[in-house]
């Protein structure tokens, strides 16, 4: 690729956009089909072959819905929130390497970048709740903030653990260091940290919580808060939140793949490539769906207790353990 | 802990007779005062306890209490560990009277007690037992909804099942929508 940097960037941004759009739409389909299978029913079947046109029908419908801004709401923020919510996911995906060369923008600090832009997401969802001026939405907004603050900490601690092992914040470099057979993946680096699977679990749980997925979907808690922060949103405004949730899941699962499962590296030592990356990512996404359709929702204080009383101490412990192990060996 | 039924009946009778003031003495409840002037006061005050065949009627004790005996009857049954089943009214339009029926069951013993009192239809006022059985709160509101029975001393006698602004009492026999 000899294109000048800005054009290359633009092309890759367009690619990222398409990637996000496709995934956001078809993960909804996967979710609905998967939920169906878990519940022994087929899920959408009638729109297109195996319901493949279902996301398109939904998008058409959402686009053609009437657009309103509730009179009681804060109109500017109400409109701004859906725009804000998609951007961070896009920015994060721009630095995620899907293959050796398949990355929109090489950044030395990819890891920090993902976390930095991930934190904007909170602002966006929270603003949507606040701007709606609906009691359920405001309760939900307050929940989102405390939940995300609580789970960002163990997530960052886990990231720091990996940072210490890897010695770089470059996501590509992190993947390259995991080349070879699957025991080179960070998940199995038991010599550096015997608790590595636990660390991975913490990361995964935090990822679920940060993306507001069940069993941590406090924000949308249907049976309690109607539709949470999105109660007043309709049409595409709501559709964007719907999509952003899945975009964030994609980001989270990609990051988990890179940090723990060796990114695009093949588990059998040869044929590395983006397909391996996607396969691993899809497996993690499947687990997200699986978890969602298995468990009831956690209680709010249970969620905070889990973070502050279990995840943070354990991740701190793994951090210390890793540093000791690294010093010893 | 369970008392045999005849003993319960006897004790209940004793309790009611001591609790119910003699007919001549002025009633304690000022709001019931007007209610009692119309109907004959003497029968309304005397308690009557009947043991009935359960398989034929569905309850064991049929207690008729005077208009002022409702609270003391409820207190007695509360002491004996009864629970409130329901409170309802029956509109005896022919006799121009309203019957208030209190059903009690016992959570541990196989007893059912029905207490009833008759109040004049024109001024249907009876004391509330919501202080004795908090569960009576809703039952009394419901009876107020349906029959317009006023439970004096009730904390919140507003329509429960009917719309908030309802002023009609649909289960009265002369109700016209």
């Amino acid at each position: 690729m000899n294109l000048p940097e800005p054009y290359r960037l633009l092309i890759f941004l367009a690619g990222t956009l398409a990637f996000v759009g496709f995934h956001a739409a078809y993960l909804v389909w996967v979710e609905r089909k998967g939920a169906g299978r878990f519940q022994r029913r087929p899920g959408p079947t009638e729109a297109g072959y195996a319901g493949l046109l279902q996301p398109i029908a939904d998008a058409l419908k959402l686009l053609s819905k009437q657009v309103i801004v509730p009179p009681t709401s804060d109109a500017v923020l109400f409109r701004a929130a859906p725009m804000m919510v998609m951007a961070p996911a896009l920015m994060c995906l721009a630095v995620i390497p899907f293959g050796e060369t398949l990355v929109a923008r090489k950044v030395n600090f990819g890891l920090v970048m993902v976390f930095a832009f991930g934190s904007i997401n909170v602002m966006a969802i929270m603003l949507s709740g606040w701007a709606s001026r609906n009691k359920y939405a405001i309760i939900s907004a307050a929940r989102i903030v405390s939940q995300n603050v609580a789970y960002e900490i163990p997530m960052l601690l886990v990231a720091i653990t990996l940072l210490m092992m890897m010695g770089t914040m470059d996501l590509q470099e992190i993947v390259r260091k995991q080349a070879g057979w699957f025991w080179n993946w960070n998940l199995f680096q038991l010599a550096a940290n015997p608790l590595m699977p636990v660390t991975f679990l913490i990361f995964y749980i935090c990822m679920l919580a940060e993306t507001n997925r069940a069993p941590f979907d406090m924000a949308e808690a249907e049976s309690e808060l109607v539709a949470g922060a999105f109660t007043e949103y309709a049409g595409m405004g709501f559709g964007v939140f719907f999509m952003a949730e899945y975009a964030n899941v994609v980001v989270g699962c990609s990051l988990a793949t890179i940090l723990f499962l060796g990114g695009w590296q093949s588990p059998i030592g040869w044929l590395p490539g983006p397909w391996w990356f996607l396969a691993k990512m899809y497996f993690l996404i499947f687990c997200v769906v699986w978890v969602r359709w298995t468990f009831p929702r956690t209680q709010f204080y249970g969620l905070l207790n889990l973070s502050w009383k279990i995840l943070i101490p354990v991740s701190l412990f793994t951090l210390v353990l890793t540093s000791v192990m690294l010093k010893l060996f | 802990m369970t008392l045999p039924l005849p003993d319960l009946a006897a004790e209940f009778a004793a309790c009611l007779h001591t609790a119910v003031p003699p007919a001549a003495s002025p009633p304690e409840n000022p709001s019931a005062n007007g209610a009692r002037t119309g109907a004959g006061a003497a029968p309304a005050n005397s308690g009557a306890i009947r043991e009935v065949e359960f398989s034929a009627k569905g309850f064991h004790l049929d207690v008729t209490v005077g208009i002022d005996g409702v609270v003391s009857a409820a207190e007695f049954l509360d002491r004996k560990g009864f629970a409130l089943d329901a409170i309802t009214g029956v509109d005896w339009i022919g006799e121009q009277e309203m019957e208030v029926v209190y059903d009690f069951f016992h959570p541990a013993a196989p007893w059912r007690v029905v207490a009833r009192t008759r109040i004049p239809r024109a001024t249907p006022v009876v004391s509330s037992i919501a202080k004795v059985f908090p569960g009576a709160n809703w039952h009394e509101r419901e009876a107020h909804d349906f029959f317009g029975i006023v439970f004096s001393g009730h904390p919140q006698l507003e329509p429960l099942l009917l719309p908030e602004d309802a002023t009609y009492h649909p289960l009265k026999k002369d109700f016209q929508p």
Partner: protein
Amino acid sequence: MKVPLRDLGRGLWSLLSGMRVTLGQFFKPTVTVHYPHQALKMPPRFRGHIELVRDPETGKAICYACKLCERACPSDCITVEGVKLEGDKKKSVTEYRLDFTKCSLCGACVEACKSNAIRFSHEYNLAGRSKEQFIMDLFKRLEAEGK
């Protein structure tokens, strides 16, 4: 320290076994009846709206407008009209109006009918754009079916 750890392990195990259950269901076949393509067979006693029974000999409705069903119906949804034709012993039905939108499918009419002139249909998937179409004249229906 030991007890919290054990609790933690037990909790994790409960989550994993829950996931095992759902995964087991994931691979089982679906139980869905694909309704417009397939359909369940209604049991013989299924209570749809009522319909008039044709007398197999005469090919006419058995009903002779005795109005027992009309009287038995708790929701007043049946109106039966009949005339006594010349030469017949009994009346014969000319109009059997069923306001299905008020019916509670209790079956009082069928039980009240002494001559088995009405029965439950198996119409289980009615839907329409106006409610008038469910106020039906069963007699006309029977006639139309005969043709």
